[in-house]
Amino acid sequence: MAPPLPPGLTPSEVGFLCEMEHVTVIPRQTLDGLELLGGPTGALKPPFPTPLPLWLALLLKKQRRANITPPPWLSVEALTQILDFETDERTAELFSPSPNLPPATTSAPLGDAATARAQADALPYHWLEIGHLLITHAADDFDDLDAVRKLLRDLREVRMSKLRKGFEVLDAGGGVKMNGVGGMEIAEVRGFVGGVVDGLRRLNRSREESRKERETEERENGLGSSSYRDDEDEDML
């Protein structure tokens, strides 16, 4: 009855999630504001740009009722800058920073990450999915489509190779910080990273349990006295 999916979102679910992000749309036809289940949508009056959820924007685009404005970080200049940052040797350990978080009450989705007011020098969490969807369906809204596609591909390769290099520090305890990583990238490596951390944990389980026992004994009996007392008991037997 329930599908036995492994824990964690599949890539298609990450795609579903990214379609809830807002993008800026330039309507070609008027449409009244709708009262959707997810909240009210602004009325569409050409030529004023309006923020709409991505799934709705793609629907309108397919029916040729609107054009989608690519967010500022999805242009040739911005992507080139970010790619330079990523390929610089001094940032070999880091990913390019994610945009500043919205105030603590909101979180992705439904943030501003892909509208025209987004930050132009940071890749938002769903950069790969949103970039791919916009290139596929809103091709005529870009100035230089091939360059953007090539840059997205290069960025993806650089970041994936950085992620793979980071596998070397994976430890049984977890605790690896990776700020700036994207949603689809996490979905790709989740199986592997989770498997490695869990596997290492299983292999080291006996070592960890004995260490914990030692620590609790030390806390209860004072340092260094426990092993001595054990030997004495054995002698008495």
């Binding site: 009855m1 329930a2 599908p3 824990p7 964690g8 979102l9 679910e13 579903f16 999630l17 809830m20 449409l31 009244d32 709708l34 959707l36 289940l37 997810g38 909240g39 009210p40 799934w55 709705l56 629907l59 080139t80 800058q81 330079d84 940052f85 001094r90 940032t91 994610s98 500043n100 978080l101 603590a104 979180s107 989705p109 439904l110 132009a120 020098d121 969490y125 994976l170 430890d171 049984a172 305890g173 977890g174 605790g175 690896v176 910080k177 990776m178 700020n179 700036g180 949603g183 996490i186 989740r190 990273v193 989770g194 869990d198 290492l200 944990r201 070592r207 960890e208 260490r211 914990k212």
Partner: protein, 241 residues
């Protein structure tokens, strides 16, 4: 703030951005934003909460507490929207037709969210039934009903097939005698990816040979054991991604 292309300036600018984003400036920005931001409709907040609950339920290894009021509000709204759409499906003029398409698409997306959320929970309940029999408060009333009748059917089936042929003291399915419990618990130490929403202080990371500490600052993305971040997720300081 300009992001200059030359690498040395870029890395210093990155450091400056990271440093200036913390501390007092953050608090002031938060206060300003909460005062001047337009009020977000309850529906949007509910959608966000449902999405977060869905992602958390799909990612976490054990069952999280059931969000009763959220699901009740959502189901009520869904029911109203469905009857709304049925009313609108009467007269068919082009403008209203397109609005109908939009409403139906959104309804399908919403239903997928709710269904996937419930399926994730049922999958966990099916995996560890005897464990969740002892924790009825994390389940909704329907889930409790499902668990009870499912287990009754299964144990009936087992007894009639082969369990009645066992010696009497080996017939229990949730035997806890002998030091080892037959009841499987979900693995609380699986690795999860999480993002820190609010500064949450330090947590202890249990390694195989030593215990290390990590500071949870806002905006960090970590790979950690579920047991380490469970409390922070309950408080809402950390979300699963």
């Amino acid at each position: 703030m300009e992001f200059n292309a030359s690498p040395s300036r870029a890395s210093t600018l990155f450091k400056i951005r990271v440093r200036s984003g913390q501390g007092m400036d953050d608090d002031i920005a938060d206060i300003l934003a909460s005062v001047s931001a337009p009020p977000i409709s309850q529906r949007t907040l509910d959608l966000q909460a449902l999405t977060r609950a869905w992602v958390a339920e799909r990612t976490a290894p054990e069952l999280l507490p059931y969000p009763t009021e959220l699901v009740e509000r959502v189901m009520e709204r869904l029911g109203k929207q469905i009857s709304n759409i049925e009313d609108m499906t009467g007269p068919m003029d082009p403008q209203a037709n397109f609005t109908l398409v939009i409403l139906q698409t959104e309804l399908e997306r919403y239903k997928f969210l709710v269904r996937s959320f419930l399926r994730a929970r049922i999958a966990k309940v099916d995996a560890y039934p005897h464990h969740y029999l002892t924790l009825p408060e994390t389940l909704s009333p329907l889930e409790r009903q499902y668990l009870a009748s499912h287990q009754a059917l299964l144990s009936n089936h087992y007894s009639t097939s082969f369990l009645s042929a066992f010696p009497t003291n080996l017939q229990k399915l949730d035997d806890t005698a002998g030091g080892i419990s037959m009841v499987d618990k979900p693995d609380e130490d699986t690795a999860v990816f999480c993002r820190v929403l609010r500064d949450a202080g330090k947590v202890e990371i249990q390694g195989p040979s030593q215990v290390s500490e990590a500071e949870l600052t806002r905006g960090d993305v970590w790979v950690m054991r579920w047991s380490t971040v469970k409390e922070a997720v309950r408080r809402g300081d950390v979300e699963l991604i």
